[in-house]
């Protein structure tokens, strides 16, 4: 089925222009002197498929970066063990983006022009994605992001940027509203960071709640750089049934603890997004107050009775135990709700490359078209989080979401949304843009 072409001799993918010849000359002249000037051979059919992996190793995203890294390596290993892509091994070229949009763009450039990577992939934080995407589009290198931001589907980016591995925030938030309204209460107060990400939560959840006959009665935006939250709690209006919280950054433990100190035993229902507690043990001192509260999870951290064999397989391969911690260190908690996106995205890249008959950077446009034509993804080893539906026009995938309740020191899934719960009207048709 997979056609493997292995020409015997090197051949440049595109024609050699005068400039490129000069470039090569200059490159050769300096490559011996400067380590940064090493010229990489053009991709050829016998060589590995190079996947540039933009990773948050330093900066505020480092907790996520570590686990994105592990998941990606595990997925690449699995793909290579089972024959690679089009018979060629996958090589992951990882580089730190410092969780910074400027450096992120530079790293994408480096993948495209220095390493001769076939595709770029990886990063989580939206500002890094948005800072890098224009460069990916200009360099015409497919850029697969695992960010859960709405930036891809909103139409802000370009045809070369895709998010096939994780549902976007608009869809996530919208699919939570019916359950929250039906089970927790209709009057919601939202506490969110005064970031674009927080504003997305505010806007999409408010709209979705209104559609359910509910109402968001309090909107409390926490400024960036805040490290103490107690003084904001009095702004929570009386009559709040549900407190909806989404925080990003290391301040979350403080947030929860102070919430506990503020409310004591008389608390409203609490519903939160796990984002802030990724890589944090739910049994950490100070988090006792979360007992009985609810969380959105992209993928349930604790193995559930109803978990699939695919999930078990995925856990084993990445090295995560049934509590979501590293098998080597039970104190090392994964970012389980998000990192599956890396695993699944790599498998989508594989699927796309194989159906496009991808041979090298000259086939990047074909790869984009091949991925755009994907629709259904069945739950499988390649998609352990569950079945998904990819929208080729908006470049965004839609999947199931989970709601878990904290109980007995675990997160127990109480609801799984239908994929359709997260659908919304297309806001862009990237396929109409030129490749």
């Amino acid at each position: 089925m997979v056609e493997s072409v292995r020409p015997k001799r090197k051949q440049p993918v595109s024609g050699v222009t005068r400039r490129k010849a000069l470039v090569g000359l200059g490159g050769a002249a300096v490559s011996g002197v400067l380590p940064g000037f090493v010229r990489y051979a053009q991709a050829q059919s016998s060589a590995p498929i190079k996947i540039g992996f933009q990773v948050h190793r330093t900066g505020i995203g480092a907790s996520y970066g570590r686990w994105y890294d592990r998941t990606t390596k595990a997925a690449a290993l699995l793909i290579n063990e089972s024959g690679g892509i089009n018979g060629r091994p996958v090589e992951i070229i990882a580089e730190d983006d410092g969780t910074d949009p400027k450096r992120g763009a530079e790293v994408v450039e480096k993948f495209a022009t220095q390493h001769g990577a076939d595709v770029a992939f990886g990063t989580l934080f939206s500002h890094v994605v948005i800072g890098s995407a224009p460069r990916a589009g200009e360099l015409k290198i497919p850029y697969f992001v695992v960010s859960e931001g709405h930036h891809v589907a909103s139409g802000m980016l370009n045809r070369y940027t895709l998010q096939p591995g994780i549902t976007d925030v608009k869809s996530q938030v919208q699919s939570m509203a019916p359950w929250v309204a039906a089970n927790l209460g209709k009057k919601v107060t939202m506490i969110y960071p005064d970031f674009a990400f927080g504003h997305d939560h505010r806007d999409y959840f408010s709209a979705a709640m209104a559609a359910q006959g509910g109402e968001v009665i309090g909107k409390i935006a926490i400024p960036p750089t805040e490290s103490s939250f107690f003084k904001y709690f009095p702004k929570i209006p009386r009559g709040t049934d549900v407190l909806y919280h989404v925080m990003v950054g290391p301040g979350v433990l403080t947030f929860v603890k102070e919430m506990g100190e503020f409310f004591g035993s008389k608390r409203p229902e609490i519903f939160g997004f796990i984002d802030s507690l990724e890589a944090v043990n739910i049994n950490s001192p100070g988090l006792e107050f979360l007992e009985g509260s609810y969380f959105w999870e992209g993928n349930p951290r604790y193995a559930q009775a109803q978990s699939t064999k695919f999930d078990a397989f995925y856990r084993a391969k990445v090295g995560v135990d049934a509590t979501g911690a590293s098998v080597n260190d039970p104190k090392d908690i994964s970012t389980y709700a998000h990192m599956f996106g890396c695993w699944e995205t790599l498998h989508v890249i594989k699927q796309g490359m194989e159906s496009a008959g991808y041979r090298g950077p000259g086939d990047r446009a074909k790869l984009i078209e091949a991925v755009e034509s994907i629709t259904d993804m069945a739950a499988s080893q390649a998609h352990p989080q569950g079945a998904k539906l990819f929208n080729g026009k908006t470049h965004q995938v839609f999947g199931h979401q989970y709601i878990s309740q904290v109980g007995g020191g675990k997160l127990n899934v109480v609801h799984r949304t239908a994929i359709e719960d997260g659908f919304y009207k297309d806001e862009v048709d990237y396929t109409s843009q030129p490749l």
Partner: protein, 293 residues
């Protein structure tokens, strides 16, 4: 919540912030005042204090009170040792040139942050508070530990004040601050005073960090905000005025809490920031400054 209790709550929160800020800023103020250098790595010392506190508590595994007390002793000492090393190996060789010191301490900041990331990791980790006591007021509950932080900070500051005004070492420090050339002429070992001041400043930051870690968790990037706030406090208070530093910390801590009552949070931060800037515009030497910058 009614206005009165809300105001009380904001004031309490402001006071806790001020207590920690005052300690950190006091450390910076000493370094700034005596050595006339901008130590960009001061926040990194703060962070280092917090993660060492976590490490001590985690390694000891004793009860919360014992672990906390051990951290309160070990962490400042360790941070002070790092500071002495930095002072000897780097700052002294730069002859405390103000501009070179900025670059060198930025470098130091990067090194400390990266080492923290590689050893401690990117996650935020909590230390259990030594006392678990919630004060239930008629309108809201409040952490007993936070009240303890305020008290502890006052005790440390009184001790520093006593040390500076009533001991020989304090006298040498003040003499050096006043005029290092003359101090040298009076056989004060200025080099050693500099080393001591730099270490002591770092230790004060570390004490502030140990106090804050049960409230805020240790994280490798946690030093940036204390650094900025400390700078602001030192300048607003007036360079060289310890009393001014402490008062400015109280003013800034409290106003941060109280302004948040009246405005939306981010707007409150913008306003508070501009107010501080305007204070300096109107009083360029700070509220209690005698020396010019």
């Amino acid at each position: 919540m009614d206005f009165g209790p809300y105001f009380l709550l904001a004031t309490l929160e402001g006071a806790v912030g001020a207590a920690v800020l005052a300690l950190t800023a006091l450390g910076l103020s000493l370094v700034f005042g005596v050595m006339r250098i901008v130590n960009v790595a001061h926040g990194a010392f703060f962070m280092l204090g917090a993660i060492i506190a976590w490490w001590v508590a985690d390694t000891l595994g004793a009860g919360p009170m014992l672990s906390f007390l051990a951290a309160l002793i070990i962490s400042p000492l360790a941070v002070g040792a790092v500071a002495v090393l930095a002072e000897r190996l780097i700052l002294r060789r730069l002859n405390y040139n103000p501009e070179s010191t900025i670059v060198a301490t930025i470098g130091l900041l990067y090194v400390i942050e990266q080492v923290a990331l590689m050893t401690y990791g990117p996650d935020a980790r909590p230390v259990v508070a030594p006392i678990d006591f919630r004060v239930q007021l008629p309108w809201f509950g409040y952490s007993g530990y936070k009240l303890l932080v305020i008290a502890a900070s006052i005790v440390v500051m009184l001790a520093v004040w006593w040390g500076l005004t009533r001991t020989r070492i304090g006298l040498m420090m003040r003499a050096t601050q006043f005029d290092s050339e003359t101090a040298r002429a009076f056989a004060i070992p200025v080099d050693r005073v500099y080393g001591g001041v730099f270490a002591f400043g770092a230790m004060l930051a570390a004490i502030g960090a140990v106090l804050v870690v049960p409230i805020q968790q240790a994280h490798y990037l946690m030093g940036n905000d204390p650094l900025l706030l400390s700078f602001i406090v030192v300048i607003i208070g007036g360079l060289g005025s310890l009393r001014g530093t402490v008062l400015a910390a109280v003013i800034i801590g409290l106003s941060d809490g109280i302004i948040s009552v009246f405005f939306s949070p981010t707007l409150a931060k913008i306003i508070a920031t501009l107010v501080v800037a305007m204070i300096l515009v109107i009083r360029p030497k700070g509220l209690f400054g005698t020396q010019s910058a």
